[in-house]
Amino acid sequence: MSAKSINVLGLETSCDETAAAIVRLTPDGGPSGLRGEILSNVVLSQIDLHAPYGGVVPELAARAHIDHLDRLVANALEEADCRLQDMDAIAATAGPGLIGGVLIGLTTGKALALASGTPFFAINHLEGHALTARLTHGVAFPYLLLLVSGGHCQLCRVDGVGDYTLLGTTRDDAVGEAFDKAAKLLGLGYPGGPEIEARAMHGDARRFVLPRPLIGHHDSGCDFSFSGLKTALRQRAVDLQPISAEDICDLAAGFQAAITDCLVDRCRRAMEKFADTTDAPAPASSKRLVVAGGVAANQHLKHALEDAAHRAGFTLSVPPPALCTDNGAMIAWAGAERYHAGCAGDADLDAPARARWPLSEKIF
């Protein structure tokens, strides 16, 4: 461990954003012992490319990543006013995600590391999401993490870098995926989350009361399930045909309310569990619930979680939306944390790309 700053370049190509960023980690006397600074954060979204298909097309994504990544890396260095030689480490997402895209960032990162003689870190994309709140809010370990994205829906206990305990995960769809499918059904654009949220704002959530899967099932731990909710939404929509603009808003509001209730209920359980399993009872002010992933941009959800956290004696931390969706800064930061913690990188440059890569094993 050194007391000097660490600069890390991070690459992210696991889904439909091509991204490169440079972050600086400086050890300090704050709660987390570290200070994070984003020197540049370049993101090229492929949303327009995939929108006509109603979802991400893997081969189109991979073709777009390779066309742009090297230029984005050059932009990130330029914006940060850095040279590659100034980097202490290079980090790239190695999974989980769409393998064709992951390979591009991973291979590019390894090549940059080989040419510059810099240590290389193959990063779990979920670890990037999990540690972002330490970059943005200097959150100290341990904390509770709700990860809600296009590909995941998990509750984890985060005790340290590389020390993640899964408390619950989805049994079927990821929550962002549920939003996207609901939007597609209602004839709305992609990605669906922001579309549903915008319609829900003008809708009446009480008109269609949709099921809240797993709530009240005591043996379900902190797991999630959204497929029954999706089916119920479809049934209501089919019965309403032809569907009016008002129907869409009401359906969107009902759907968002059901999802929010599910997430809040599971977080409540997890907060109880967290308090029970934290040895030295931390002062109330330092118990944290962190939300990460693209769905964290949803304001309705954020307010509901804020309220639940407050009641449970927790503080809620949500990184800004641009750092909740996929970005290179979170990958660079995860690399910086690993480097700072003394983890060995991938010295052999043979780390594989992994389509699936759980952050931890399920424990209950």
């Binding site: 298909y53 050059a74 390894k110 597609k184 032809p242 790309a353």
Partner: protein, 236 residues
């Protein structure tokens, strides 16, 4: 101006290969046959070349890579590695058609047909002279189209690539299998790139050549629900 030191690699087909050319000769070359795993193999292979000849590595002034056609993933592994090295080293990277580099590896004195079996009755092909110079742009052909090549003048052709199995049957007497390996060799690529000027290399972008559109299907509008107002669909 001619390059002095060229690093080349290929991962587009059934092998992973890399070679370092310096002042008139290939000074390091590796080739491992593989159907998958190129991504894990390539960087360690390049790292070994760097370790074996650090002084020559430091003098690399041009990079060369095959850009396909080949497996989509293989194409992107090689291209992203070399574009990454290019950015980090500040030297240009030139892209070469995989089929042309295979043709240059041919050994028969006949005209050459490079044909790579891309499944679903598609062959990535290129007709080349007996020296390996391309006579046409890379072209996707069916087996029947491959067999029709040169039918009018009864041309005898040496076939290079995995497509040779289907094309060079006892009935198709005009076609014979070339003894060249059925994949590109980085040593051939490095030597070929080194024969071009820096100016010529700069005109060859390292952009993937797929020859096949991506698998992507638009949603079926028939499956959509009916809306009262198609225009203002759900507009608040």
């Amino acid at each position: 101006m001619m390059p002095e030191t060229v690093l080349a690699c290929d991962t587009t087909q059934g092998a992973c290969s890399a070679a370092l050319w310096h002042r008139g000769e290939v000074v390091a070359a590796r080739l491992d046959e593989m159907q998958r795993g190129h991504a894990e193999a390539l960087l360690p292979c390049l790292a070994e070349i760097k370790r074996g000849a650090p002084d020559i590595w430091a003098r690399i002034d041009a990079l060369a890579v095959t850009v396909g056609p080949g497996t989509f993933t293989g194409v992107r592994v090689g291209v992203s590695a070399m574009r990454g090295l290019s950015l980090a080293m500040g030297v240009p990277v030139a892209g070469f058609c995989t089929l042309q580099i295979m043709a240059l590896g041919g050994v028969s004195p006949r005209r050459r047909l490079v044909a790579v079996d891309a499944r679903r009755d598609t062959y990535y092909t290129q007709i080349c002279t007996k020296e390996g110079t391309p006579c046409e742009a890379p072209t996707a052909r069916s087996l029947a189209d491959c067999l029709a090549i040169g039918a009018d003048d009864g041309a005898q052709m040496a076939v290079i690539g995995t497509g040779a199995t289907a094309i060079c049957t006892p009935e198709n007497t005009r076609f014979s299998v070339d003894a060249a390996p059925p994949w590109p060799q980085a040593s051939v690529l490095a030597t070929h790139a080194a024969s071009l000027s820096m100016h010529e290399l700069a005109a060859l972008p390292a952009t993937p050549l797929y020859l096949r559109p991506p698998d992507a299907t638009l949603p079926d509008p028939q499956k959509s629900l009916t809306f009262a107002d198609a225009q203002g669909r759900g507009a608040p």
